[in-house]
Symmetry: C2
Subunit: 242 residues, 2 copies
Amino acid sequence: MSAMRKKKSAKTQKGDQTKALILETALEIFRERGYEQTTMRAIAEKANLSLGNAYYYFHSKEHLIQAFYHRTHEQHLAAVAPVLEKERTLKSRLLTVMRLKIETIEPYHEFAGALFKTAASPGSPLNPFSDESDPVRRESTALFAHLLDGSKIQIPKDLRAELPYLLWVYHIGIILFWIHDKSPKHRRTYRLVDHTVDLLDKLISLASNPFMRPLRKQALRLVDELRDAAQDFNDDAERGEK
Amino acid sequence: MSAMRKKKSAKTQKGDQTKALILETALEIFRERGYEQTTMRAIAEKANLSLGNAYYYFHSKEHLIQAFYHRTHEQHLAAVAPVLEKERTLKSRLLTVMRLKIETIEPYHEFAGALFKTAASPGSPLNPFSDESDPVRRESTALFAHLLDGSKIQIPKDLRAELPYLLWVYHIGIILFWIHDKSPKHRRTYRLVDHTVDLLDKLISLASNPFMRPLRKQALRLVDELRDAAQDFNDDAERGEK
């Protein structure tokens, strides 16, 4: 049993390496030619693999992008972990998570620009709001929940329940800004992060005030409504594309 | 002199009729074939005009769409005018303007869906935020300023200066929602208008409170920053397309 496990583990390791090789190769070609223009055949050829072997690891180009999202998220998690151990204010925790997110994806700026045209359209499986992006969206939303739980601020239950998702949407907005940002070292994005985190910190405090309860309830109902609508629009667009 | 004027006026009238004919014909073909697939030649042929004559009135397909935006705005103005004469609360005035906007554009829902793919991309002259859309954006923003001026609410100067533009952006958001809305009679969009107008009315009151001054100032600085960035991103995209 133990020998079998070892054997399997060695096999898995080789599999992981092949997977990583395919992903790296794919990102390189996507960056050069754009997402739409790249075929799985071209990726397999450049990685010196048979087409069947490439398909064994990734069933489609979409799966490659989801793997890219996933890997970026893992790298981000590793980067924020030590800082979240220490920082205790909401503001410093959110600032860390946001700044390190941009730093993590920085090497892929050009690629993100090429991906944007495909991923931005509603109904695309690469859209961050799509069903296909659900696993990585959940993981990323969980990070924002963790960020909130470890901070000293008292947030009412109704707001606490929606806030991780709202912060995730905010972080998608910042990434969209960064994709279009041509300022040196993307300083403009970092400045926007600083401003918006400061403002969000104050708005969350304000919204947590008992006097704000009716307005907060109403705003949260609106969030629900918009989230349902986004889901339906996405489903409509997917059906339309099929 | 008087005879000349009369003659010119008759000529202008005929010109206006031809312009209207070209616009109606264009909207019909755009709706059938989509914006990108339609040529000025096809529009001229269907309207029984020479290509040169069509170009005399509209220098390009973009000019047709800007004329469409403009005409829709005029129709909206005519629809809201009698109600804005009577209503005096911010909430009732904003509700009227928003509901009548959707009613005005209702006949063009299918066409708006076809236009969306082109108009949504940054750098497109048909994008509501583009330089080319500046005249109609100004007219539309002026309506929101008029809406505010005639309402009883006291709004501090700093917020009053930005609010017409912010309400214009909000109204673009509602139109985007309506484009994707497939509910019967677009009830979902009307429900969203009701909810958001109610919420906006309360948020504007809250933001006008003297205690909110520092937070309001900070939020308005962010609006400025985002508006500048949107302008620059748009310019970058336009340069990129040339």
